[in-house]
């Protein structure tokens, strides 16, 4: 039995910056192994778990895609004992000064199992270009201080080394969890909850549970896994923007009021409709999220793989996305997992013809 909070905390404590997902993939492989019939790693590092269906072969298959990579930082240089860096995957420099980080050093003295703690710092005003004044300090003017004597730094850290956020996950008020990489570990957990739910229930389709890599840098895992697995359908679970301080926009959704069902050109209209009707029937609270051009999720990729794969995207609303203090509601994760499990039950062998756009 997988417990949601301990697993979420474990996944949120692991690094897994885009391109370097192994720490999170290792945890997940152990968690999924007893829940699937086969597990493997793709050529680019995505995790594929197969839960076989009980209909006769060739069976249709459903890909449930959740990206496991996260935003982070990467070393650009060392200057007089201080580390220069840039971001991986889109980080607002305004959240960086004072941030505690882990540096995954590859220098001759570095121990790969033991990242070094560091601190993102903003030099004092006289040390910065005068025109910056008391304004926002661009990422190229920030440093990471690792507390070592200047001469020691290059022994541990080299250009290209990955830096992950050190913010520890925090349970808040029993209903929400805050931490880094909730985008998209929250969806990974929802998928895990779904796998757990279908253990005791039969299903006719093959289910591919996938944890994809490098979503934050161009959906690389989604393109390649969808091609390799060639599923009949793909349902992508990602996070979406929640309402909260500083973001009350029309395209934000309340935390704790259920997942969003995305709608737009990336989405197969009949697949959307069947999941929406299911959510209504089960009275699972949800919202419709309008994604005018791209969903900004792995569904952007899965839709155009090979001959094209009918795709759908579900969003778990989180506050403060792409900061180290993202906030997610545990209920929303559970509801998403349940919706996926129930959807699997509705997949009959003639489902593809039911959602056909025409002949």
């Amino acid at each position: 039995m997988v417990e949601i909070i301990p697993l979420l905390k474990q996944l949120l404590s692991a690094s897994g910056v885009a391109g370097y997902e192994t720490p999170v993939a290792d945890i997940l492989q152990n968690v999924w192994k007893p829940l699937v019939d086969e597990i493997s790693v793709s050529k680019v590092g995505s995790l594929h778990g197969l839960k076989r269906g009980n209909s006769s072969e060739p069976r249709p298959s459903l890909m449930l895609a959740t990206h496991m990579d996260a935003i982070g930082l990467i070393v650009k240089g060392i200057h007089k004992g201080f580390v220069r860096f840039t971001d991986v995957g889109g980080v607002d420099p305004r959240v960086l000064p004072g941030q505690q980080v882990w540096l995954h050093g590859s220098g001759p003295a570095a121990d790969p199992g033991n990242p070094l703690p560091g601190l993102v710092v903003k030099p004092s005003a006289p040390l910065l270009p005068e025109e910056l004044g008391d304004q926002v300090i661009p990422i190229e003017n920030l440093f990471i201080d690792i507390g070592l004597a200047p001469g020691q730094v290059a022994k541990f850290i080299q250009v290209g080394d990955i830096v992950s956020f050190a913010q520890e996950p925090m349970e808040m008020n029993g209903e929400t969890v805050a931490g880094h990489s909730i985008d998209n570990r929250a969806a990974v957990i929802a998928l895990t909850m779904c796998l757990q739910e279908i253990q005791t229930r039969s299903h006719s389709w093959d289910i591919w549970a996938t944890a994809t890599v490098k979503e934050e840098q161009g959906y690389i895992g989604a393109y390649t896994s969808a091609f390799q697995l060639r599923p009949s359908l793909a349902v992508v679970i990602d996070t979406t923007w929640a309402k909260g301080p500083g973001s009350d926009d029309w395209n934000t959704f309340p935390v704790g009021k259920g997942p969003t069902l995305m709608w737009g050109p990336n989405i197969h209209p009949n697949l959307h409709k069947s999941i929406k009707e299911l959510a209504e029937k089960l009275e699972i609270p949800h919202a419709i999220e309008i994604t005018g051009q791209s969903t900004g999720t792995d569904a952007f990729a899965t839709q155009i793989v090979a001959e094209g794969i009918p795709s759908m995207a579900i969003g778990i609303p989180i506050r403060y996305m792409h900061t180290p203090v993202e906030v997610v509601s545990l209920k929303d994760i559970q509801r998403t997992g349940r919706l996926l499990a129930e959807f699997i039950q509705t997949l009959t062998t003639d489902f593809m013809s039911k959602i056909s756009l025409g002949s």
Binding site: H79, K80, F82, G90, V91, D92, P93, R94, V95, P97, G98, Q99, Q100, L116, P117, L119, V121, K122, P123, S124, P126, L127, L128, P129, D134, Q135, V136, N141, D145, I146, G147, L148, A149, Q152, A166, E168, M170, E171, M172, N173, G174, T176, A178, W241, G244, P245, G246, S247, N251, V255, G296, R319, Y320, M321, H322, T323, P324, V325, V327, S329
Partner: protein, 355 residues
């Protein structure tokens, strides 16, 4: 040969406890408890005054003892909950000088139960490039503890939620300004000299104008005073590689002796005494660059009929942010310099010329 400086396990644990304790100006009780627990075996009595200063005297045994005050402030900069917006979202004010650019994306602890919360920021995807050029003003920021019931009320304090770490030669943590000074005072109390009456003041409200030190000095009426604080080490490289002429202090170069800051011109006899003691004992020291800023000496030296005062600081980078960096060697050398200096004070000390 590089000398390595060690802290015992007990010393490290104490520094960690002091750094993690929550104590914004005006609400220093938690820090006071940590200190009292630590010094109780070494003192016969203590006093907590009207403002919350913790005052401890250790009398010497020699004849004609001078009364020597040592002071370090317990309070830290932080936040105060100002209004409840509902759904676990709170408006807040800062207490003490905090750069608003240090706030977004940090976790905090709120109230006496240390409830976790976060100060978030708008997702980058919803911002424009020009919006990201503007800092987020305090009135737009909120502390979010998550929806659901909570006991938080306006007036509750909050601080950065930061892990204390020992890294190589350094300490990383919050509130090193001035919990390092507090730890120095504790070490002085544990090993008090016989030639003086040691009057230790763990002060309140330094960050909002050294208000605690002012009344503590009045109560003690010392003959002279040493203030132990943490001063910025702005010793980073300049963006264009120009010489850094505003470093204030350098990490790792020893305790920083104050000649002048924005609030105090130190007593020349005390500056001389510290320098001579350091040289005699081969303890490294540095002179803090004269300039702005201030310590508890600012209110102590002009209290009552005047109290000859000097400040000694442990250099610290990134003061008044979620986490600072200081060197173990600077802490150890500050303790050594002050112990040696206190031991060398003779009753006739103040009779020497002021030049």
């Amino acid at each position: 040969m590089v000398k390595t400086f060690y802290l015992t396990k007990k010393q490290t644990t104490l520094l960690e406890k002091l750094s993690q304790a929550m104590g914004i100006s005006g609400n220093e009780g938690e820090v006071r408890s940590v200190i009292l627990e630590e010094i109780r075996p070494y003192i016969s009595d203590h006093q907590v005054d009207a403002l919350g200063n913790l005052l401890v005297t250790r009398q010497g045994s020699a004849n004609n003892r001078l009364k020597v005050m040592v002071a370090a402030h317990m309070d830290e900069v932080g936040f105060m909950i100002a209004a409840d917006d509902g759904e676990g979202i709170f408006r807040f004010e800062s207490v003490g000088g905090i750069d608003v650019r240090q706030l977004p994306g940090k976790s905090v602890l709120v109230g006496k139960d240390h409830l976790p919360g976060v100060i978030g920021a708008r997702p980058i995807h919803l911002t424009t490039a020009s919006e990201r050029q503007n800092k987020i003003p305090l009135e737009k920021l909120r502390i979010d503890v998550g929806p659901g019931k909570n006991p938080i009320k306006p007036g509750d304090q909050a601080v950065f939620n930061t892990n204390f770490r020992r890294v190589g030669p350094s300490l990383i943590g919050k509130a090193l300004d001035d919990r390092l000074g507090v730890a120095v005072l504790i070490e002085l109390i544990k090993d008090a000299p016989e030639n003086i009456d040691l009057q230790a003041a763990f002060t309140v409200q330094e960050e909002i104008g050294s208000r605690g030190a002012r009344v503590a000095a009045f109560s003690f009426k010392p003959d002279l005073a040493f203030v132990v604080d943490s001063t910025p080490a702005n010793d980073l490289p300049s963006w264009d590689d120009a010489e850094n002429v505003t470093y204030n202090t350098h990490l790792g170069e020893g305790p920083a002796i104050y000649v002048a800051d924005g609030a105090t011109l130190s007593d020349p006899r005390l500056i001389r005494l510290l320098k001579q003691t350091a040289e005699k004992e081969s303890i490294p020291f540095q002179l803090r660059q004269p300039g702005g800023g201030g310590t508890d000496a600012g209110t102590i030296h002009k209290q009552a009929g005047g109290i000859p005062s000097v400040s000694v600081s442990i250099p610290g980078r990134y003061s008044h942010t979620a986490a600072g960096v200081a060197r173990v060697s600077d802490y150890v050398n500050t303790v050594a310099l002050l112990k040696a200096t206190l031991r060398s004070i003779q009753p006739e000390f103040l009779a020497q010329e002021r030049k």
